[in-house]
Structures are given as C-alpha cells and as structure tokens.
Symmetry: C2
C-alpha cells in the first residue's frame, strides 16, 4: 500500500489516496482520533472519480462519529482495465430489462466474476489498512454492490457488521451465502427504484441468516436515499463497532 | 376531560389519568417544559392496564425528547363495555387463522366497527388535549391498531406525522384510504411475526400515498420491536413535529 496524495479537508478529516498494487483507493481518517479508529469499508458500483462526491460525503459523516473509512476501485471500473465480458453482460442486461426478458443468466455472467475478483481485493486492502497504526478495527462494510457485501460478510471474519444497499441484482446462487451471514445487518432498499428488483431484495432480506437484521425502505428512487439514513447508518455502526 | 389522578414519575414526567365521558385515558407531560409540548397519541391494541408498562415506557422515551404523550382506552377493551359482535369476530379470526382459512370477511367484521367507533373518540380526546395550555401541537400518532392510524391520518388534519405499527390485520377497504395519506409515515413491521400477514403489510406500505414513507422491518416477533426503534421513532417525530 502506497500513499500517493494527502489533503486535510475543511472539517479536519485526513484524505489520502493510495494504490495497492494496481488498485487505486482512498482512505479517510477522523481529524481528532486519540485511539485507533474502527474502519468502515465503503462499497460502491465502480468509478471512484464519478462516485467521489457521494463517497467523501459518507466518509465525512462517518468520521464525525469517529470512524475511519476506505474504498478501492472495482475491477473493470474507473482507470482500471475494462473487462470485455463484463461490458457485454452489462449491455445484455440493459437490453433484457428494456425488453422485459429474464435476466438471471445475464446477472450471473455480470456479477459472479466481479464478486470473484473484487472480494480478494477488498480483503487485501483490509490487510493493508489494518496494519496502519491509526486504524484499529472492528470493521464494517457499507454500501453496494450488495453481492460483494454478501460474499465479504461470509468469508471475511474481520467484518463485524454490514450496511447493505439492496440496489443491484444478486445472482440466485448468492442466496445460499446470504443464509450463512450471522453478523448484524442493516439493509437499505429504495422502494420505487425502477432499475431494481424489489421482490428480489425482499426475498434476499428474508434469506439473510442474521438474527439482527433491519430493513429500511424509503422513497426517492435509486439515488434518493434520504439524508437521515446517513445518521441511522452511523448509529447502526456505533452499536456494533464501538 | 376530567383528571382523576396525578403522579410525578422518577424522571420528572407528570402522569395524569383522565376520563373523557366514559373513556379512560392517560396523559404524560415532560418534567421540564418551557413551551407547550408537541403531542404524540399512543395507539395500542386495547387494555390500558395490560398495556401500561409498554405505554409508559414509550411515553417516558418521548418525554425525554420534549414530547407530551397521551392514550385512551379502545371501545370494548379494558373496563369499557364489551361488544358481543367484536368478541365473536375475534374468536372467528382465531379459528380461521388456525385452520388456514381466509380471514378477509372476519377482519372486516372485527376491525371496521372498531375504526368507526374509535376514531371519533381519538378526535374528541385530541380536542380536549389541545385545549390544555401545556400541549401545543403539532400532533403525531404512534402505534397500532394500524387501521385506526390510517383512518385518523386521513380524517384528522391536526395529525402531522404517523409512526404506524403494521402488526395487525387491515380491511382491504382501508387500502383506498391509505392511498390518500400524504403526511410523513414511518412504518414498523416485525418480519417474523407469525400472527401477522407480512405480504399484506408490504402491500399496505406500497399503497400509502405519502411521498415520505419509511419502512423499518426487524426480527424478534410481534412484541420484539428492538429498543433502538424507540430512538428512531423519536427522531422521526423530531424531524416532523418540531
């Protein structure tokens, strides 16, 4: 892990860009941290530059509660090499959704390889982040891609709680993994998200094996998660990571 | 409205029992209120004595945020005269649920007359409560019976926000009224509540006409609403009643 830039934001949060091998990432740490900070991994749909405004807003919000936050670029997104197969699957998915055709096979082609590649990268990033003296753990995962969050929650014992955004398609094979999750979950669902399968999200919430799982459904479309959910997310992590 | 008893709870909350005609009720006001307090009407399934521990806990929690809280006995419950028709419908419902038979007609027989009787009583209580100098409004409704909450939210313009517990059956005719509700709603659903119809609750959430509506689904069975939902409820009302 190599830090490539560093700036202090106006609220005192330290923002550092880094690379982990060829993977770019960003780490935010609270301005005034006396003890090593618990860490929240910020999941996103890919494209760090495009996602930056939303990611930095979430990171600052988390930092205000004493959490460090970090994210990495997804395989095939941003400045990373494209995957022809993924691009094709993405186009196929768009066409199938517009035509009202079944999407299961396409979702498998699109999401499963992404999960296979991204999860080991998140775990490597976690190794590197937890070796920093200012990061203490425990660790939470927050955001989409929900399929990545599911696999991470199953295979990565250092993740103690997850706030999952049910805003993207999940291969049916991951439902079996969802049943194995026992860490506390908070699941965000945008009820009127036209690009999302609401029933699949509800089935997935039902499938999660966690004894403590909470579903928060709101209006406002895919990108319209209400601001108060940021506070709710902080409180969720405060309950489980502090 | 006639106060029949008064006691100061250990956290300073003033608890007063009252009668409104033949209807018993309880009013809780915050210990230290400089201005008239916003009011939360606490809905419940009937039986003030039995429900008292949960009601007083909710009232104290609300009072800590500066809200007054009040409740009245439901028609046919507690010390009020029983309704033979309602008792029969309740027994029919129990039998039908055990036998796995359709319940729509029984729910209509049980719930619609209750709504017809209870809602004017809640409105009369609201008249009386808002005439007290220590109560200022705006007003929220919190709790079950959700069918009563729906009707109240439609017909009572003084109610500005409602936190509804989707834990009981709702006559299908009330779905039309649900569509007319435009005040902000927070809906609590116990996901694994065996005595409740989860799909009906989800359909109902979908039907609500409110632009700001939030569903919170949790585990823990009918009576197992997690404690953090009390705080979430306070924050919901703080956003909309203050």
């Amino acid at each position: 892990m190599r830090f490539t830039s560093e700036q202090r934001l106006d609220d005192g949060v330290l923002e550092r860009e880094f690379t982990l091998g060829e993977i770019p990432g960003i780490l935010w740490t609270p301005g005034s941290a006396s003890a090593p900070a618990p860490l929240i991994l910020l999941g996103h749909p890919g494209g760090l530059h495009k996602m930056y405004p939303r990611l930095v807003a979430r990171a600052r919000h988390s930092a205000a509660e004493g959490f460090a936050a970090a994210t990495i670029e997804l395989p095939g997104s941003g400045d990373r090499p494209r995957s022809a197969a993924a691009e094709e699957a993405r186009a196929d998915l768009r066409r199938a959704l517009e035509a009202g055709e079944p999407v299961d096979e396409i979702v498998d082609r699109l999401v499963l390889p992404l999960v296979e590649k991204a999860v080991p990268e998140w775990r490597a990033a976690l190794d590197a982040l937890l070796s920093l003296p200012e990061i203490g753990g425990p660790v939470g995962y927050a955001g989409g891609v929900i399929a990545i969050g599911i696999r991470l929650a199953v295979v990565e014992p250092r993740i103690s709680a997850a706030l999952l955004f049910a805003g993207s398609f999940v291969p049916r094979t991951l439902f079996e993994e969802a049943r194995q999750i026992t860490i506390p979950l908070q699941v965000l669902l945008q009820w009127d998200d036209e690009g999302n399968d609401r029933q699949l999200a509800l089935d997935l919430f039902d499938a999660f094996g966690a004894k403590e799982k909470t579903l928060h459904a709101n209006m406002g479309g895919h990108t319209g998660v209400p601001q108060f959910e940021g506070d709710d997310g902080n409180r969720f992590f405060a309950r489980h990571l502090k």
